[in-house]
C-alpha cells in the first residue's frame, strides 16, 4: 500500500527531528552549550585603566523590568560602541516578574528587576552559591493629573490626600482637604477619577508602599503589593490601565482624573505633574536635586549587595528625610548569580556593570526620566561585583 511510503517518510522526518533534539541534549552537560558562543575568546587581565579597551569579547543575555529597558539599551549601546562591538549586552524587556522567574530557571545571565528578590527566593539562591542584587538607576514615580485649567506643577498634594483619594474618602476636586493645600487654585466641583495599574507592577508596589507609610488608614485597609484591591474601584470612581502607558493614556483621556506613573511616561505624554509634600513639609517635584537628596538620605538604610533587600525596599526607602527630598523614589535592580560556569561571562558581567555604576552614571549616559545613583549608592554594586567568580 501507499500508506507505507507516507509512514516511512513521516517516520524519517520525526526521527531526524528527535535525534537532532537528543544531540543538542548530549552537548549540553558541563556547560558545553552554555559557553560555545564565547569559547574561542581570549580572556585578558582587566585593570581599570584598560577597562573599556579590553580585548574581551562575547555576549551576555539578560531580561526583566520594562522600566529599566530604555536605560539599559542606552548603556548597552554605548558599551557596544566603546568596546568596538566586542561586548554585546543583550537586554530584553519582559517584565520584572518574568525576568526573575527566567533567571531562576537559569535561562538568563542576569535579570533586571524593579523589586529585589523576595526573602524565600533570596534564601534559595543563597543556598545554591549566592546572589548579588544592587540598584543601577533611580526612577521616580509622579502623581499626574488632568484638570482642565490647572497647569503642570501647580497642584499641591500630600501623601495623605492622595491616599484618601484612592481610598474613596475624597471624591471631588473641590474637597476642603485639597482646597486647603491649594488656596490659589480654582478647583472645580468634579468627581475625581482615580487611575491605577490593572496589571501587577513594581510601580504599584512602590506607590502603595508610599501610601502605607504616610497613611495609617491605607496601611490597615489596603497595604502594599504588586496588585491591590483599590477601595476607590468599589465606588465606581476608579479606572485601571495596563502598564505605565495604559495609565498615562487613561489620565490623558479622562478630564478630572489622577494617576501615578514612572516619570519618563509623564514627560513623554506631557501630563501635568503634581507637587508632593515631603517628610519635611516642603512641596517638591522630582528634580535632579530632589532625587539626589532622597537617595543620599537612604544610604544608611541600604543593605549590601549579597544581603536580603526584601524588607528594606521599598517599604523603608519611600518618603525619606531631607528638606529637598522627593518622596516617591524607586530603584531598579540588577540581579546576578555569584557563580557562573564560564569565566568569560564573569569577566563581561563585571566589566559591564562596573562601567554602568561608574561612567554609566554620568549625565550624558542617563536617559531622560531617570536619575543617576549617587556614588554612595553605586558603591553597593561595585562591592558586590567583587563576589562574582567562576565555579
Amino acid at each position: 500500500m501507499y500508506t507505507k511510503y507516507i509512514i516511512v517518510i513521516a517516520a524519517v522526518v520525526i526521527v531526524a527531528l528527535v535525534s537532532a533534539f537528543m544531540l543538542s541534549y548530549l552537548w549540553m552537560p558541563t556547560g558545553g552549550i552554555g559557553s560555545r558562543g564565547s569559547a574561542t575568546t581570549t580572556l585578558t587581565t582587566t585593570s581599570p585603566a584598560t577597562r573599556v579597551t579590553t580585548t574581551l569579547s562575547g555576549v551576555v543575555n539578560g531580561a526583566g523590568a520594562t522600566f529599566l529597558n530604555p536605560q539599559m539599551q542606552a548603556w548597552a549601546s554605548k558599551f557596544y560602541e566603546l568596546t568596538g562591538g566586542r561586548i554585546q549586552v543583550n537586554y530584553q524587556s519582559i517584565g520584572s516578574g518574568a525576568g526573575q522567574a527566567k533567571f531562576r530557571e537559569g535561562v538568563l545571565d542576569f535579570a533586571g528587576s524593579d523589586p529585589p528578590l523576595k526573602s524565600d527566593i533570596y534564601n534559595e539562591f543563597k543556598a545554591k552559591g549566592g546572589i548579588i542584587q544592587f540598584p543601577v538607576i533611580i526612577g521616580t514615580i509622579v502623581i499626574v493629573y488632568n484638570i482642565p485649567g490647572v497647569e503642570s506643577g501647580k497642584l499641591r498634594l500630600t501623601g495623605e490626600v492622595v491616599a484618601k483619594i484612592y481610598l474613596g474618602e475624597i471624591s471631588y476636586w473641590d474637597d476642603p482637604a485639597i482646597k486647603a493645600l491649594n488656596p490659589d487654585l480654582n478647583l472645580p466641583h468634579e468627581k475625581i477619577i482615580a487611575v491605577h495599574r490593572s496589571d501587577g507592577s513594581g510601580t504599584t508596589r512602590v506607590f502603595t508602599a508610599y501610601l502605607s507609610k504616610v497613611s495609617e488608614a491605607w496601611k490597615s485597609k489596603v497595604g502594599s503589593d504588586f496588585t491591590v484591591s483599590w477601595p476607590v474601584d468599589e465606588l465606581g470612581n476608579g479606572v485601571g490601565g495596563k502598564g505605565n502607558e495604559g495609565v498615562s493614556a487613561a489620565v490623558k483621556q479622562n478630564p478630572y482624573s489622577i494617576g501615578y506613573v514612572e516619570t519618563a511616561y509623564a514627560y513623554s505624554t506631557s501630563l501635568a505633574i503634581a507637587l508632593i509634600m515631603n517628610r519635611d513639609g516642603n512641596y517638591v517635584l522630582p528634580t535632579k536635586e530632589a532625587v539626589a537628596s532622597a537617595a543620599k538620605a537612604l544610604v544608611k538604610v541600604l543593605p549590601k549587595a549579597d544581603e536580603d533587600w526584601s524588607n528594606i525596599f521599598p517599604d523603608q526607602t519611600v518618603d525619606p528625610p531631607g528638606k529637598e527630598s522627593y518622596p516617591i523614589t524607586s530603584f531598579s535592580f540588577v540581579i546576578l548569580r555569584q557563580v557562573y560556569d564560564d569565566p568569560v561571562k564573569v569577566a563581561i558581567l563585571k566589566e559591564f556593570f562596573e562601567w554602568v555604576l561608574t561612567d554609566g552614571q554620568r549625565p550624558e549616559n542617563i536617559v531622560e526620566g531617570y536619575d543617576p545613583l549617587p556614588p554612595e549608592v553605586a558603591v553597593i554594586g561595585l562591592d558586590g561585583l567583587k563576589l562574582l567568580r567562576t565555579g
Binding site: 501507499y2 507516507i6 555576549v59 520594562t66 530604555p70 539599551q73 557596544y80 554585546q88 498615562s248 519618563a264
Partner: protein, 279 residues
C-alpha cells in the same frame, strides 16, 4: 402596493448589507493606510540593515537583527512545518477514509484555533528550559507548530481538488505511489500547495506570541547560532511600541510597514497563483 413595499424593504436590506460588507473591509485599508503613513517614511536601506537605536541620542537606527531573525525563523519554520504539513495534508486527502486521517484532521482543525501563546509556552518547556538558554530553534519549532495545521489543511484541499480521472490516469501509468503523488499529481496541485506554503509563510512572519517565550530578542546580534537568542520583527514592534520614547515609536512604525509589506506581498502572490489556476 404591497409588492412595492416588499421591493423597498428588499432594496433597503440589500443596501444595508452591502454597506456592512464594505465596512468590514475598511479596517484592512485603515490599518494599511495608517501603518504606511506613519512608517513608510522611515524605511531606507540603512533602516533595513542597522542596529536598533538607543532610546535617545545616536542615529535613527534600524531593524537589521530583527529582519535577519525573522528571515531565519521563517525559513526554518517553513522547512520543518512545511515538510510535515505537506505530507500530513497529502495523507489527509488521499487516505481520507482511514480513521487515523479522520482523527488527524479533527486535531488539526482544533490546532488552527489553538492560542499560539500556549505553543510558545510548550516550546519554552521542551527547548528553552532544558537548554538553559533562549534560542532560535525553539522559536522556529514553535512557529512550525503554529503553521502545520494551516499548511496541512490547505495541501489537503489542493490534492482534493485534483479531478479523480486525473488521479486514475496517473496510477494507470503503473508508476510507484511516490512518483504518482509527488511528481505527477503534485504538478497538478502545485498552485494549491504553493498557496498553502505561502499562507504558512505569512502566518509565521507575523506571529508574535510563540516568540515571546522562546527567542528572547537581541539588540546587537544578527545571527549567533540556532542555540542563541535571535530577534524578530513582530517582537521588536511589540517592545518598541510600548516604550515612552518617540524614536522607538518611529522604529516600531517603520518595522510595522516592513512587516506589512512582506505579508501583503506574500498574499498578493498567493492570490495571483490562485487566479491562474481558475483560468
Amino acid at each position: 402596493m404591497r409588492l412595492n413595499k416588499r421591493k423597498i424593504i428588499d432594496r433597503l436590506m440589500l443596501g444595508i448589507i452591502s454597506a456592512l460588507a464594505i465596512a468590514s473591509a475598511i479596517p484592512i485599508f485603515a490599518i494599511a493606510v495608517n501603518v504606511y503613513s506613519e512608517g513608510a517614511r522611515y524605511i531606507s536601506l540603512n533602516f533595513l540593515i542597522d542596529l536598533p537605536p538607543p532610546p535617545v541620542g545616536g542615529g535613527g537606527g534600524g531593524i537589521g537583527p530583527a529582519l535577519v531573525g525573522t528571515l531565519v525563523l521563517v525559513a526554518l519554520a517553513l522547512a520543518i512545518g512545511g515538510s510535515i504539513g505537506f505530507f500530513t495534508g497529502l495523507y489527509l486527502s488521499e487516505f481520507s477514509h482511514t480513521r487515523l486521517a479522520q482523527y488527524t484532521q479533527m486535531f488539526l482543525q482544533v490546532m488552527v484555533e489553538f492560542p499560539t501563546i500556549i505553543v510558545g509556552l510548550f516550546a519554552y518547556m521542551i527547548l528553552v528550559a532544558p537548554l538553559k538558554r533562549f534560542n532560535a530553534l525553539a522559536g522556529a519549532i514553535a512557529l512550525s507548530i503554529v503553521i502545520i495545521p494551516y499548511i496541512a489543511l490547505n495541501v489537503r484541499e489542493a490534492y482534493k481538488s485534483i479531478p479523480y480521472t486525473l488521479k486514475e490516469a496517473a496510477f494507470s501509468l503503473g508508476v510507484s505511489a511516490p512518483i504518482a503523488y509527488l511528481r505527477i499529481l503534485l504538478s497538478a496541485a502545485r498552485r494549491g500547495v504553493l498557496t498553502a506554503l505561502l499562507i504558512g509563510l505569512a502566518k509565521a512572519a507575523g506571529e508574535t506570541a510563540p516568540l515571546l517565550l522562546t527567542i528572547l530578542g537581541t539588540t546587537f546580534t544578527y545571527f549567533g547560532g540556532l542555540d542563541q537568542p535571535i530577534n524578530a520583527i513582530p517582537l521588536l514592534i511589540y517592545n518598541f511600541a510600548l516604550s515612552p520614547y518617540e524614536k522607538w515609536h518611529q522604529v516600531a512604525w517603520g518595522a510595522a510597514a516592513v512587516l506589512l509589506t512582506i505579508i501583503l506581498a506574500i498574499f498578493i502572490v498567493s492570490r495571483l497563483i490562485v487566479k491562474e489556476v481558475k483560468v
